[in-house]
C-alpha cells in the first residue's frame, strides 16, 4: 500500500512513523483516538484523484484534513485508513476584486487569506478569531459562523472544485462552465454545492473554493456595551440589526472576552475577569468605500438612539480597560499567523458546544448550560459563552466553551460526561445542531429519520464504497 | 437590435389595437381564451391592493371550488377546447357547473384588464348562451325565464303589480311618463319594484327626489325588466327582446336621463345595451350619482345624527361592470358617489373593507348563482360579511337589491349579526 501511495504523492510526502500517526490519531476533542495507517500530503488535484482511485481499488478509507489543528474529531480515522493532509495545497489562486471573490486551496489559513486580501482592500468573512492554523476553506465549507451579520444575502461559499469519491473532478455552480467567471454557486443542474457543505469530507475532497470577500474598511469604530444577563443582549441586538447598524457584531461573556484580550494565562487575565462585565456586546461600525466618516456618523447616531430607547450604554471601552477599542480592532483586522490560541490559553483544550437558535431563546439555553456545568462541579465563571447574531439577527450561533485539561483523565471524563449530557438536553430543548460532529451525530441522526435515511442514500450515490471519512455523520 | 430594420410589429392587428367595440362573438371569445397566459391574475386581488393574506382572493367560484377549471383561466381553457372541438359540450356534466356557478361578478375580468385585453365576462356570457342553445336554460333558471317571457319581470308577478310601490306616494305628484313628460326617468327595476321587502327603498328615494323638486317620472306598469338576468344566464334572445323594447320605449318617451337605484339594471342599461344596435338617446345614472350631486350642492337637509359605523359594499354592476371597456382607460365605476353620500350623513362613520372598488369581493347574488347554486351564493355572501365584520362596522351598506338579498340570506343563521342596509334607507333615517 505504501508503495502505491508513494508513487502517487512522492516519497517525502507520505508519513507512517508512529510519532506522526500518534499525532494524527488524536485532536483537541475528547473523542477517542483512532490511528491512521498512513498520512499522505498531496500537492495537487491530480494527486488527490489518484489517491481516491487507489482507495476505491483497495477499499481504504481516506480522511481529508486541511489544517494541522482540529477541535471536533472530524479528522479522526474512525475506521482506520489514510489521512489526506491537504495543508501543502495552500495557494491563493485568484483574487478577483471587481467581483469581490477569492479562490483558495484547502491549506490556506485565515491569516494568510486576510493578509493577502489587505492590499486589495478586501476582507474574508471569517469566524471569530480562528486558530492561526485553521483552514479558511474547511472553516467556510463547514459553515462556521461569520462575524458580520450585515450581509443579508449571506452564504460566502461560491463555487468549488471537488474530487468526487469516484475520482472524477466536479465543479459546482458556474465554475462548471469555463466561459464564466465561476462566481455563482447554484448548479449545474441542482445545488450540488450544498451536499459538500457540512459534510466533514464525506462527500468529496474540495481542492479549491471560491469565497465572497467584502470591503476592508479604512475607518471604523468599535463599541462595547456591558450587560448583566445574556438575555438582556437580545433586544438591543435585534434592534441594531434590524436598523442595519454596524459590521462585526457579537456577544462574549466575561470569561471569553478576558481570554481574548489577555496575553497570558496568569498575567492580566485575572484583572480582566474582575473588571469586565458579565456580558459584552461588541459592535464595529465601519465605513464603506465612499464617504466612510459620514456613514459611521449616521450609524453611530442611530445606535445612540436605540441605546437611549432601551437604556443601554455603548462605549469605546468596557470595564475601564484602556486601549480596548484599538486592541479589538487590531485583533479583528490582523489575525495572528502563529502563536497560541486564545481559547486554549486557560487550559490546553476547549470543548465547545455550539448550535443555532434564535436570540430570544438564548437566555434559556444559557441557564441550562450553566446549571448543568455547575452540577458537574465546574466554576461557571470559567465557562465561555459566545453569541453570534446571524443574518441581521434572524438567528444566532451560540457556543459554550468548557476549558479542559487534556492531560487530566479525571477532567477529561468529567467534561466529556457534561458535554454529552448538556448536548442531549440542548437538543431536546430545540437547539439546532447543524454540524453534527463526534457524539452529536448519533444524537441528531437518530431523531431525523427521513433526513438520515435520505442522506445515507445520497452518500451511496456519491461514495458507493464509503471510502471518504467513513464513520462520520450517519455514514 | 433593430435600428436598421423596419419596425417589426405583430401581424395580427388586434395586438396593435384591440377592437373593444363591436359585437362579442365566437372570434372574440376565442381571442380572449387564446391569449390567456395562465398568469393567474384572474384568481387574486391585484397584488398592489392586497392588504392581508386573508382577503387576497378575487374569484368566489375558484376560492370555493378550488380546481383551476373553475377560474377565469380554466374557463379560457374550456372556451378554447370547446371552440376548437377538443372537448364536446356533452363530454362532461361539470361543464354546466363551471359555466353557471360563477356569479359573473367580473372580479377576474377587472384584474385581467390590468394586464391584457381580456373580456372574460363577455366570454362567459357567450359561453352560457352557447350552452343554452344546446341544452336550454338551467332548470333552476327556468322559472325566471318563463316569468320574463310571461310577465316581463323575473319574479312571476303580474305586470299590474309594478305600480304598487307608488301607492305609498299617492298625492305627491309622481309623474307617469306614459301620460306626462319629463326628461328624467326613474327606472325602479323588477326587484325593488316587486319585492315587498325591498320596495321601501325606492319609496324613500322617490321621496327624496320629490322633496328636492326633481322633475322625474316613472313607467309604472309599462316598465319592463332591463334584461340583466337573461343576459347573465345565457338567454340572449330574451335579453335582446327586452333591451330593444326598452330602448324603443325610452326613445319614444323622449327620456334624456335614466336614473336607477338597482346596480344590476344600471350595469345592464349602461354597458350591455351597447350590444344592441338601436340608437340610444339617453344617459344612464345610478341614483347615487344623481343624489351625490345634491349632497355636494348641500341640497339635502339632514336632521338627525345617526351615530353609526358602516362599511360600503361595492356592487359589481355599479362598479367594475358599470362602464364599457375602453383599453387603457381607468376601470371607473360608481365608487366615490355612494361614499360621498355616506360621509355626508351626520353621525355616519365609513370604514372600508380590504377589497373594495374594482377589486371588491362579490356578494354571491349575481349571475344566476343565487337561484342556481344557493349554498355557494350563501358561502360567498358570508365571506363578504366576515370581511365587513373585520372592519368593526355595525352594518354593511350597499345599493343593489341583489346584493342586499344575497347578503341578508347569507347573514341568516350566522352567529354574529351583520345587518345589510340600503344606502337610501340609511339616508332617509337621517332626514
Amino acid at each position: 500500500m505504501l508503495k502505491e501511495l508513494r508513487n502517487i504523492v512522492g516519497a517525502g510526502n507520505i508519513l507512517d512513523d508512529q510519532a506522526t500517526l500518534d499525532i494524527y490519531s488524536r485532536d483537541k476533542s475528547l473523542n477517542p483516538p483512532k490511528k491512521p495507517s498512513a498520512v499522505v500530503c498531496p500537492d495537487n488535484t491530480e494527486e488527490v484523484q489518484e489517491l481516491i482511485r487507489f482507495a476505491n481499488k483497495t477499499l481504504t478509507p481516506l480522511i481529508p484534513s486541511s489544517s494541522g489543528i482540529h477541535f471536533l474529531g472530524a479528522t479522526l480515522p474512525e475506521q482506520g485508513g489514510v489521512v489526506v493532509d491537504l495543508s501543502r495545497m495552500n495557494k491563493i489562486l485568484e483574487i478577483d476584486t471587481q467581483n469581490r471573490k477569492v479562490k483558495i486551496e484547502p491549506g490556506v489559513t485565515w491569516h494568510q487569506l486576510q493578509d493577502a486580501l489587505k492590499e486589495h482592500e478586501q476582507i474574508p468573512l471569517n469566524p471569530l478569531m480562528p486558530h492561526p492554523m485553521t483552514s479558511a476553506l474547511t472553516s467556510s465549507l463547514e459553515r462556521e459562523p461569520m462575524l458580520i451579520p450585515k450581509y443579508e444575502y449571506g452564504d460566502p461559499v461560491l463555487t468549488m472544485q471537488i474530487a468526487l469519491p469516484s475520482g472524477d473532478i466536479f465543479k459546482t455552480g458556474t465554475a462548471s462552465d469555463e466561459h464564466t467567471d465561476g462566481a455563482y454557486p447554484e448548479g449545474p443542474g441542482i445545488d450540488f454545492f450544498r451536499f459538500f457543505q457540512g459534510a466533514q469530507g464525506t462527500m468529496g475532497i474540495v481542492t479549491w473554493l471560491n469565497l465572497k470577500t467584502e470591503y476592508r474598511p479604512k475607518h471604523q469604530k468599535a463599541f462595547f456595551v456591558p450587560f448583566i444577563n445574556m438575555g438582556d443582549t437580545a433586544e438591543p441586538v435585534y434592534r441594531i440589526q434590524k436598523k442595519h447598524i454596524g459590521s462585526e457584531c457579537f456577544v462574549l461573556n466575561r470569561f471569553l472576552l478576558a481570554s481574548l484580550l489577555s496575553e497570558e494565562r496568569h498575567g492580566d487575565f485575572g484583572k480582566l475577569m474582575d473588571e469586565l462585565p458579565p456580558y459584552t456586546l461588541i459592535l464595529v461600525i465601519a465605513g464603506s468605500p465612499r464617504r466612510p466618516v459620514e456613514r459611521i456618523a449616521y450609524e453611530e447616531a442611530a445606535l445612540m438612539e436605540i441605546a437611549s430607547d432601551l437604556n443601554f450604554q455603548p462605549g469605546r471601552t468596557v470595564g475601564g480597560i484602556s486601549g480596548l477599542e484599538h486592541s479589538m480592532l487590531d485583533k479583528l483586522r490582523n489575525l495572528p499567523s502563529e502563536g497560541g490560541y486564545w481559547k486554549t490559553r486557560f487550559k490546553n483544550s476547549t470543548q465547545d458546544i455550539f448550535f443555532i437558535t434564535t436570540m430570544d431563546r438564548a437566555q434559556g439555553y444559557a441557564d441550562l448550560a450553566f446549571r448543568c456545568a455547575a452540577s458537574y462541579g465546574l466554576n461557571i465563571n470559567e465557562v465561555g459563552l459566545y453569541m453570534q447574531p446571524l443574518e441581521r439577527g434572524r438567528a444566532c450561533h451560540i457556543s459554550f466553551s468548557f476549558p479542559c485539561d487534556l492531560d487530566s483523565s479525571k477532567e477529561r471524563a468529567n467534561i466529556r460526561n457534561l458535554y454529552i449530557e448538556l448536548s442531549m438536553k440542548l437538543i431536546s430543548e430545540g437547539a439546532f445542531f447543524t454540524r453534527p460532529y463526534g457524539p452529536w451525530a448519533d444524537m441528531i441522526y437518530r431523531r431525523t429519520t427521513t433526513y438520515t435515511d435520505t442522506l445515507k442514500k445520497l452518500k451511496k450515490v456519491f461514495d458507493p464504497n464509503n471510502i471518504l471519512n467513513p464513520g462520520k455523520l450517519c455514514h | 437590435m433593430t435600428e436598421n430594420k423596419e419596425m417589426l410589429l405583430p401581424k395580427d392587428t388586434r395586438y396593435l389595437k384591440y377592437p373593444a367595440d363591436g359585437p362579442f362573438d365566437q372570434e372574440k371569445a376565442r381571442w380572449t381564451a387564446f391569449n390567456c397566459s395562465r398568469c393567474s391574475v384572474c384568481k387574486w386581488v391585484d397584488s398592489w391592493r392586497v392588504k392581508s393574506a386573508k382577503y387576497a382572493r378575487i374569484c368566489p367560484q375558484h376560492t370555493k371550488y378550488l380546481y383551476d377549471s373553475h377560474s377565469g383561466q380554466g374557463k379560457c381553457d374550456l372556451a378554447l377546447a370547446l371552440i376548437d372541438g377538443k372537448l364536446q359540450w356533452d363530454d362532461d356534466p361539470e361543464i354546466k357547473n363551471i359555466l353557471f356557478q360563477c356569479t359573473m361578478c367580473g372580479g377576474c375580468d377587472a384584474m385581467d384588464k390590468g394586464i391584457r385585453d381580456a373580456e372574460l365576462i363577455k366570454m362567459y356570457r357567450w359561453l352560457r348562451s352557447e350552452y343554452v342553445k344546446r341544452f336550454g336554460p338551467l332548470p333552476e333558471h327556468k322559472t325566471m325565464t318563463d316569468s320574463i317571457r310571461e310577465y316581463d319581470n323575473v319574479w312571476l308577478q303580474p305586470r299590474l303589480k309594478r305600480n304598487n310601490w307608488v301607492k305609498e306616494l299617492k298625492g305627491m305628484g309622481i309623474k307617469d311618463l306614459n301620460r306626462e313628460k319629463s326628461d328624467i326617468l326613474f327606472f325602479a327595476g323588477c326587484t325593488y319594484g316587486l319585492s315587498d321587502e325591498l320596495k321601501g327603498t325606492i319609496v324613500n328615494i322617490a321621496r327624496i327626489l320629490l322633496k328636492n323638486n326633481i322633475d322625474f317620472g316613472i313607467l309604472g306598469n309599462k316598465e319592463l325588466c332591463c334584461g340583466s338576468p337573461p343576459s347573465k344566464t345565457g338567454i340572449l334572445d330574451e335579453f335582446e327582446r327586452l333591451a330593444v323594447s326598452n330602448i324603443k320605449q325610452f326613445n319614444a318617451l323622449g327620456v334624456k336621463t335614466i336614473i336607477t337605484p338597482c346596480a344590476g339594471c344600471y350595469g345592464t342599461l349602461r354597458v350591455e345595451y351597447d350590444e344592441i344596435e338601436e340608437k340610444k338617446n339617453f344617459e344612464v345614472l345610478h341614483v347615487a350619482e344623481y343624489l351625490d350631486r345634491l349632497c355636494q350642492d348641500k341640497k339635502i337637509n339632514y336632521k338627525k345624527e345617526l351615530g353609526i359605523t358602516v362599511t360600503w359594499h361595492d356592487p359589481c354592476h355599479m362598479g367594475r361592470l358599470g362602464r364599457p371597456y375602453v383599453p387603457g382607460r381607468d376601470l371607473e365605476g360608481v365608487y366615490e358617489e355612494p361614499r360621498n353620500i355616506l360621509k355626508s350623513i351626520p353621525g355616519v362613520e365609513l370604514v372600508e373593507m380590504e377589497r373594495i372598488r374594482e377589486y371588491a369581493w362579490c356578494c354571491g347574488g349575481g349571475g344566476g348563482a343565487f337561484t342556481g347554486f344557493k349554498d355557494f351564493a350563501r358561502w360567498t355572501a358570508r365571506e363578504r360579511l366576515a370581511e365587513a365584520m373585520d372592519t368593526g362596522a355595525e352594518m354593511v351598506v350597499t345599493s343593489c337589491p341583489w346584493c342586499e338579498t344575497s347578503l341578508r340570506a347569507g347573514a341568516a343563521g350566522m352567529n354574529e349579526k351583520m345587518e345589510t342596509v340600503d344606502l337610501f334607507d340609511l339616508m332617509v333615517k337621517a332626514l
Binding site: G154, G189, R291, T434 | -
Partner: protein
Amino acid sequence: MKNRDRNNEQHQQILGAFQTALGQENVSDGPATMNAYFGDWLPPKTLGTSVPPEFVVLPNGTMETQAIVKICNRFKIPFIPVGSNQWSLSSAPNRPGTVIIDCKRMGEIHEIDEKNMFAVIEPLVSLAQLHAEANKRGLYIGSPEASAQSSAVAGHLFQGMWGVGHRIGVAYRNILGIEWVLPNGEILRTGSFSQDPACGFWGEGPGPDLRGMLRGYAGALGGVGVVTKMAVKLHPYPGPRTWPCEGHIPNQVSILPEDRFSWDIVKYDDLEGAINFMYEVGRAEIAAVLQKWPTVYYAWWWANSNEQYWETWKKRTFQDNVKNAVGVSLWGFTSKKQFEYEKRVLEDIIEETGGKRIPREIYDLWVPRTANNWIRDTNGSRMMRPSGTFLALRLPTDTLRNSIGVVRTGYEWVNKFSPPILDSDGPDWIGGYDFGHFGFGETDFPVEKTPEDLGDLMNKLLGMTKEDLQNGIENGIGPFLGGTYHAMAGKVFKYDKLLKGIKKAIDPNLVSNPPHNIPVED
C-alpha cells in the same frame, strides 16, 4: 399518448384510492376539469406533446399529500405538484396517466415570527399575500417580475430573480426549513424543521444540506416530490404597513414615502458604462434595488394597453431615453440620515461614472406606475400583452461582467431571427444581486403568439441550446427545460451520473414528474 378510459378498471381503482384518502370532492377525473391543467403560456404543442392529466387531486397538508404520493407509487403513475399553476412550463403532463397534485387547499400562513424574521407558509400562499403580511410587521420579501400572484413556495424553489436581490439575494437563497414529501412517499424535514420542537429559523443541515436536491437554477420542476410547508426569510423594511397604491386599474400608481425611498434611473452611453455603475453601487453597499432593464421592459411594464404600447414604441419614447439605463432604488433602512447619505453617495457615483438621469418627463411618466413593480410586482404579466407572449433566450447568472457578453450574443441571435421575433431594441436585462457579487442576464423578446412563429422559434432556440452545450456553454436556458436539458447538459458538465443517482435514490418508481429533473433509463 392516451389516458386510461374512465371506465377502465385500474382507473377506477386509482380513483377509489384517491377518494378514500381525500374524500370524493377533492378528487376529479372529469375531462372539463382535466382540461384546465395541461396548457402552458404558449400555444398548444409549442413545447412538444402534452396530454391532459388523468386525475387532479386536492390534498390538504403533508399527510394527505403523502397518502397521494404513496398511491402513485403503488400504481406506478406519475404525479406533478403545482402551486399557483402560474405560467406553468413543467407542470403540463407529458405522459398519459398523470396525476396533478394541486395545492389549492394548502394556503395557510402557519406563522410569521416577527422578531426572528421568517414566515412558515403553505404552497398556495402568494407572494403578494406574504408581502402584505410581512409589510404589516415592518418586514418584506421580494416578488419576481412575474408575478406576486404566484405561489411563494414555488417562487422560492424556482429561481425568483426579484428586484430586491441586490440586497437580500434571489428567492431560492431565502429558503429556510422545508417540509417535503419525497417521491418515495417519505416526509423529509430539512433545516431547523428537522428538530423537535420544529421551528423554521434555519435552513441548513443537519450536516450536508439536502436542500441541494430541491433547489437549483430553475427548481427541480416537480421532479423531487412535493414541498408542503416552507419557512422563508423576511427582512427588515422601512416602508409603510400597507402597500401604497392610488388610482384604478390599469393606471394605478404606487409611491413609497419620499423621505425613505427613492428611484433614480441613470443612463449611460453603452452597456459597459451601465454595468460599471452597477459595480460601483454594489461596492458602496448602498441601495435595495439595482437593475439594468432593457427598453422593452420599460414599455412592457408601463403600457396600459396594447395601443399605448405600440404607439409609444413607434414614437421611440423609451428606446431614445432609457437605453443602457439602470434603475436604482435607495431605501432608508436605518434613518432619514442614512437615506440622505446614500443619496450623496449615489450622486458621487453618477458623477464619477458619467451617468445621466433620464429626462424628467420620462421619469414622471414611468416611475409612479411601474418602478415599484420591482418591489411588489403587479404589472409583470403585461409582458404578454403586446404580442400575446414572449420568449427568453439565455439566462446566465454569474458576474455582472459575464452578463454583458452573454446578452451581447443574445442581440445577435435576436437580430438573426427577427422576424418572427418582433421589435425589441436589444432586450438585455441585467440584474445585480448580493451587492454586485452576482449578475443575472436575460434576453427576453416579444414574439407573436402564433403556433407557427413560436414552434419554429422554439426549435431554433433548442438548436442554439444544443450548440451552446456542444461548446461547453451553460448560460442557464436549459434548466427551464428540465429533464430534456439535464440529459444533454449533464454529460457536458459532468453531473448526469450524480443526478440520476439522486433521482433513483429518492424516486425508485420514477413517479415524480418524469422526465424531470433528469430522465433515468432503467
